[in-house]
Structures are given as C-alpha cells and as structure tokens.
Amino acid sequence: MIELTVNGNPIAVPEGTPLLEAVRAAGVELPTLCYHEGLAPYGACRLCMVLVASPHRELVASCVYPVEEGLAVETDAPEAVTARRLALEFLLSRCPQSAVIRELAAGEGVTASRFGAPPPEKADELCMLCGLCVRVCREAIGANAISFIGRGGERRVGAPFDVQSDACIGCGACAEVCPTGAIWIEDRGHQRILHNWNTTVELHPCPACGRFFAPEPTAFLKEVLPETAELWGMCPECLRQRAARQWIEQDVVKPT
C-alpha cells in the first residue's frame, strides 16, 4: 500500500492507483469528464487538477498521476481551484447547452464564462472532446470505428471521411460512455442510425416478438462468446418474460 495525505488527511491505497482515485477515496470530490475507470487514463479535460505540495510543488492532473509514497496533495490550493475553474469556464463557453457541464461548473462556483459563446452553427455543441467514445471504441470494443479528426480548434470526432463506417458494429458504447449526451443514436424500424458517425447498421429481429433489437454486425459475438448466444437470440423483453414464466412454472415465485 502507498501512503499519502489528501488535504492533510492520511490515506493508503494500492500501488498504481491514479491519484484521482486516492483523492476520492479520501472523500474529496473532483470534477472529471474524460476519466472512466474502465479505460486507460487520458488526461485531456484537465478538470481534476490538484496541487502536489510535496515532495515537489506541482500542479497535476490527478487522473494521470500515479500515487507515490509520501505525496502531500492539496485539492483546495488556490492554483488548483483556479485551474479547475478556468477549465470549466472554457468548457462552459464551448458547450453552454450542456447541463452536465453547467452543473460541474456550478459545483466549482462558475456560473458564467468570460470567453464568449460558440458561433451560431455550434450553439448546441455538447461534445467537449473528452475522447471517451473514441477510447471505448478502441480499447474496450476493439472496433476502432471512430477517431479524432483535425487538430487544435478544428478537432472533432467522426468516422473516417465522415461516411458510413464499415468498422462500426453499432454497439452504442460510444453513446453509453459519453458524459454530455453528445452522441445521438436512434433505432428506427429495422435500422440503428448513429447520427454522429453518418452510419446506419441493420438490426436483427427478435424471433419471439419480431421487435428489432440487436445490431447485425454484433452477430460474431455468438461465436466469440458462446455464453452470450442466448442474449443475442432473443430481445431483452422476451428474455425477461420467458424467465418470469419459468419461475412461475417452477414455483419460484407465485403470481399475486
């Protein structure tokens, strides 16, 4: 175990823990947008800045800073607070319509931005480029269907050349991890439309009720993960009903 102090309070965490987790374990909440415990730390949003006061004084992004023995961390040091507030102020200026960002900003005492509003064509921007969608698609799903495009102020996320992606399996993990709800996925009839990626995938119908539910490109999972074959074969609602019927038949529960 590694021992350190957070705002003067000692805490011990396993080696390799990101400083952010140690701070949270000490009961101090920090805002984050690009951090996800299931993915490799990325250090892009810079919301989780804290001051390492000792052994060397340094402002660090706590999500990408591995804990070290004897660290003294101050989350409320003026420079750390200013750093978090400015990051939030800029994100607020980029995505004024995002309720999540407004709430995080308010939590740090930021309610307005001095850096103006986005141009009219981006007035509804919700993406703050945390990269969770890109990373979940690459690291967790292995599809690599989307990536960052452009650099600097032009940076955005998309499928290659903004055309229908052959790599996308339509799983929807991107929308699932997106912290600001910037990714719009719509199931319409037998199709799933991933609007942000200009991509449409076919859906597989439930053999029981006929409802379209599973993206066809995920069919390979039946071979790769045989234990999921049943899940893929029937929609969640029909699976639930079947289980309920079985339980009744087996007297596990009695209808009231």
Partner: protein, 623 residues
C-alpha cells in the same frame, strides 16, 4: 568497401582524405536547402558547364551548409599548393568568370570572402584575405555539431571517416556499455532538443529499465518557424547522427533505431536515407558492427507535418502509426517508450554531439562551455540582424556577443530591441538583458527557453504585441487539441491579442490574458502546451508599456499594427516622382507629376509598400 576492422576504417579514412584534398582543383558548393534556396544549383551547373567547356580538370562537389546564410550561395575553392578561398554571393555569371580565372591558374580576389586555413597540404593561406575564423561572424564560433557541415560531401562515408568519423564508435565498442554511459554523463551533455535533460542520466535510466527490446530514436521533427539547425545537420552530415545513435544503442542495449524526420525536409530525408543505406553496405549498420558482435539497424520514418510530433510522446505515437498526440508523463519514454519499451529519444544535435564526445573524450567536451552547461549549441540566427546564419557557440556566451558580435547588430544600424529564443514557444527577452549568458537555467529564469535553437532578433520596428499574436497564431494552429488548456486557452489568448492589435483591447483584457496564460502554462498536458504562453508572458513582463499603449492610448509604438497607424506623405519632402503611386496596390495615392502626392486614408490598407519604396523617405508612419 566493407568496414569490419580498425584497419578497414583507416583505409576508408585514407580514401576520404584523398577525396577531401585531391591533387587537382576542387570546388565545393554549399548545397543544403539554404544554399539551394539562393540559387546554388544554378551556380553548380554553371561551374560544371564552364569547366567542361574550358577543359578544366576539377573535382566539383556538392557539400552541405557552410553556415553564413547572409552570404549564400557560398563556393569554397581549393587549389593545391595555392590556397583555399571562400567566395560569397555567387551567381552563375560570376561562377563562369571564376572558372575563367581559375583556368588561368589564379584564385581571383573578386567575390572572395575569406581564406580557409585548413588546406590539407600546409600551403600558406592567401595573405590579402582575412582568415575565415577571424570574420566577426565566425570569431566566437566553435563547431562540434557542425564540425563537418559544409566541409564534406554529406553522403560520402569516406569523407566522414577522414574527419574522425566512426572513431567514437570504434572507441565505444572497445569499452563496456556502462563505461559509454559514464563517458556521456561525464561530458555533461544535455538534451539539445531544448529540454536540457542530462543525456547520460537519461541513458542510465533506460539502460537500467527492465524490458527488451529497447529502442533508440532520433528526433528530427524540427518545426519552429525560422529554425533549421536539425535540417542542416541531417542534410550536411548525416553520419554524425547515425554514428551517435549506434553508440547510444550499444550503451543502453538497443539494436534498433528510428530517425524521425519531418517530410517537409525532402533533402534531409533523401540524404539520411542514402547515408543509412551506405552505412549498411559498409557494415557500419547491421550485424556485428566493426567486428564487435553488436548489431544495430536504423529506420527512417517521415513525419506527416504536425508540429506537436516534435514532442517525444507524440512522436512515438506517430511512429507507432497512431495520431500524433502527446500522452501524460510519467511514464517517461526511458522506461516506457516506443511500443511500450524502454526508449532513448534524443534530438539530432544531441546525437551528433555524442559521436564527437566518444571520439575526443568527455574531458574535452566538458572543457567547452561553462560549469553545468558544457559543450556547444547551434542557433539559427535570423530576423532583424545584419548577419543571419547557422551559428554554433559554446554555452555561456552572452546574448550580446551572439547578437552584436556574431550577428553584427540590427540591419542598417537599427537598434535591436529584443530577441526570442527557443522557437514559437520561447520568450522575448529585451535588449537590457543581453548581458545574460546563454544557458538552460538563465534563459528559463528570464522567461524564455533554450528550445531547439531558434533565435529571432527583433528591432525597433517590431511590435511586441503583434509578435506575441504571431506566435500564438502558429501554436493555435499546431495545438493537437487534446487538452482543454492548450486547445481553448491558446485560442482565447489569440482572440484577446487580436483585439488588442486591432485597437479594441480593454484594460481588463490584459488581466484576462495574463490569467489565461498562467493557467495554460500550469495546466496543459505536454511540453508544447506548457510553453505556448511564453511569448505572451515574456512580452507582458518586459514590454508591458507597449501593451498599455495599445490599450490605453490606441497607439502602436512600433508603428506596426495596421488599425493603429496611418500613413502620410510629407509635402516638404515629396518630389512627386510617382513611385509610391505605382507601388500602391490599393490605388490609394493620388497626385500630379512633380507635385506632392497624398494618401487617401479610406483606401489605404496600411501595407507600407509606399513607405518602403519612397526614395526620399517622405512617407511617414503616424502612430
């Protein structure tokens, strides 16, 4: 020939000496990109054709950069037993005249810049010419990294060998690897990419790091505007870099190296690729180098044009085929670099220094420069300075010696106001700090950085607010956009600066600018983002009066910012010659012949072409 033993190396070196100092006339033309840009190619062909027409027997050689950009194209003529002379500002016509004179057996005086002492046959240098090393431009210089630049045909292995080439590697391979690391540590060499991390310590960390294979990387992704040190080394002396990498590989236990060169440097890519192939043919890359049992190979990787790939973790991501984006450190590349393996990544100039250090010894190198900042550093001295060029000096030289002595001060006697070191993310230091020595700590303390070696001189006609905006414009475009401070903060600083130069800034803007700059410096993810605010912070620190003039008085003291100046013709000086009228692209100047002209402020775009063209100096910039 294959070079497998020390005696093979000696044979190669003897061949090289014969090529460097032939018994017939030899003409070397500086044909790195700098020379080619000023017409060296035409000069080369004129020399060749005229010599052929006259039946003059000569060895005509394309060498790399001779260093004195201001005087390009440069031609170095060596006549056995008659001396060696450097000719400047050569043109095809003058090249033909030169050949005509040489055919008569004379080294003509016309166009001669200096005598070169090193002649290979001990003949006396021409007495009526100043020796090259006594020219003010060369007087303070000490060439280590550029030791062969402009003196050898860049891809001729034998010429490199003739100038102590591969002596360092031969010596290193006879030592235990740890002793090689110690030698580099003892030399005091620090990373010449700008970070200044002790090279020996970096190697030691990598050598001690668990994991195999390990890798060597040469960072040749030089992207600073106005900087061309690495390009020149790669174009002019690629073997010095390759040899350094082999030494590094032996020291840390790596057998594979990568040279990452930006693709905007086609000649550097070509020469390095040729040199790697030639070294492979000779057995100086590949298996069992110099019979030592040590294997090392080098691959050349071309960058795709992102400035941020000069940052080591972004560069590594780029080699791996990923997007050129930095990742957080630690872990540092020395423990987890290319493909997650321990990797030493050093700059082109660092590798070129390593080969010299191993050849001549750590003590020799540690004797150059000053305590803690040993050795030499290369700067591309550019901007508003009389002598521009590639300059290599021992660390510890003062900025004044650099700018006034080597650079010759401002052009046309104008006063130098500031200097920017370290590229677009360096800071601007005012003339009153020119007594400072050039070393890593002093420059950082003063608010700038050593950087990779850009040195841009600014005179009284430079507006420091405009300069800050110019560099922010560059870094705004080149920010990868990954982290919030660099992406959003840089754009915000640029917006504020644009407001100020447009005469629309407010006093609150200055405070906001400073607040954002401090934040970006402290909170950005990588070295690029953390240094982006330097031009802003340093100009706010040293030239706040200029900012205040823009904001409070709506005035640009340097007379640069278009929104804040007006051009006017002084009737008492105007002769009505009409030159300004012809020059004006906006058609804003009217007037009868031989009568004073006037400028229509509505049409005038403040481009200042008339101001620069007026032979009478009658057009003034009203600030």
């Amino acid at each position: 020939m294959r070079v497998h033993t020390r005696s093979d190396l000696e044979k190669l070196s003897a061949e090289g000496i014969a090529a460097l100092y032939p018994s017939r006339l030899k003409i070397s033309v500086g044909m790195a990109t700098c020379g080619l840009a000023t017409g060296a190619d035409g000069v080369y062909h004129a020399l060749r054709d005229e010599a052929a027409a006259r039946g003059l027997d000569l060895a005509l050689v394309a060498v790399g950069c001779i260093g004195y950009c201001q005087q390009e194209p440069l031609v170095d003529v060596r006549m056995p037993d008659r001396g060696r002379v450097l000719y400047a500002r050569m043109t095809p016509e003058r090249a033909r005249a030169l050949i005509a004179a040489l055919a008569q057996g004379a080294l003509p005086a016309e166009g001669a810049l200096a005598a070169i002492r090193e002649n290979g046959d001990g003949s006396e240098p021409a007495k009526d010419l100043p020796p090259l090393e006594e020219l003010p431009f060369y007087a303070h210089q000490h060439k280590v990294i550029l030791r062969n630049s402009g003196l050898i045909a860049p891809t001729r292995l034998e010429e490199y060998a003739a100038r102590e080439g591969y002596q360092g590697l031969a010596r290193a391979l006879a030592l235990p690897p740890q002793a090689v690391v110690d030698e580099v540590s003892r030399s005091g060499l620090r990373g010449r990419g700008g970070g200044g991390f002790p090279t020996g310590r970096k190697w030691q960390i990598c050598r001690d790091a668990p994991g195999a294979p390990k890798y060597i990387i040469c960072n040749g992704d030089e992207g600073d505007p106005g900087a061309y040190m690495d390009r020149t080394v790669l174009e002019s002396d690629p073997y010095s870099v390759i040899e350094g990498m082999v030494i590094g590989g032996y020291a840390i236990g790596a057998s594979e190296g990568y040279i990452y060169v930006r693709d905007e440097y086609p000649l550097a890519v070509e020469r390095v690729t040729q040199a790697v192939a030639r070294a492979e043919d000779a057995g100086l890359l590949g298996a069992d180098i110099l019979g030592s049992g040590f294997d090392f190979s080098v691959r050349v990787v071309r960058g795709a044009g992102a400035f941020v790939c000069g940052e080591e973790t972004a560069l590594i991501a780029s080699i791996e085929g990923g997007m050129g984006e930095p990742r957080p450190k630690p872990p540092y590349p020395a423990t987890s670099g290319l493909w997650g393996q321990p990797t030493v990544i050093n700059n082109v100039k660092t590798w070129a220094s390593v080969s010299a250090i191993l050849a001549r010894g750590a003590d020799w190198y540690a004797g150059l420069g000053v305590e803690g900042n040993t050795g030499t550093v290369v700067f591309s001295l550019v901007g508003k300075v009389a002598n521009t060029g590639l300059v290599e000096v021992p660390l510890g030289l003062t900025l004044r010696e650099m700018i006034e002595d080597i650079g010759g001060g401002g052009p046309d006697g104008k006063a130098v106001k500031a200097v920017q070191t370290g590229g677009p993310s360096g800071g601007c230091l005012p003339a009153r700090l020119f007594h400072l020595p050039i070393d890593y700590e002093t420059l950082t303390e003063a608010g700038s950085i050593m950087g990779s070696g850009g040195m841009v001189v600014m005179d009284e006609e430079t507006c420091m607010v405009d300069v800050a905006r110019y560099f922010l414009n560059f870094t705004m475009d080149e920010s990868c956009g990954k982290c919030t401070p660099c992406r959003e903060g840089t754009r915000a600083m640029h917006t504020i600066l644009s407001r100020i130069v447009a005469g629309e800034g407010t006093p609150e803007d200055l405070a906001l600018l400073e607040e954002v700059a401090v934040w970006v410096k402290g909170a950005a993810l990588c070295g690029l983002g953390q240094t982006v605010p330097n031009p802003v912070l340093s100009t706010l620190r040293y030239f706040r009066d200029e900012y205040e003039a823009h904001v409070h008085e709506r005035r640009c003291p340097a007379g640069v910012c278009r929104a804040l100046i007006r051009l006017a013709i002084r009737p008492d000086l105007c002769t009505g010659c009409g030159i300004c009228q012809r020059e004006c692209p906006a058609g804003a100047i009217r007037g009868e012949k031989r009568e004073p002209h006037v400028i229509d402020p509505e049409l005038c775009t403040r481009c200042r072409l008339c101001h620069d063209a007026c032979p009478e100096g009658a057009i003034e910039i009203v600030r």
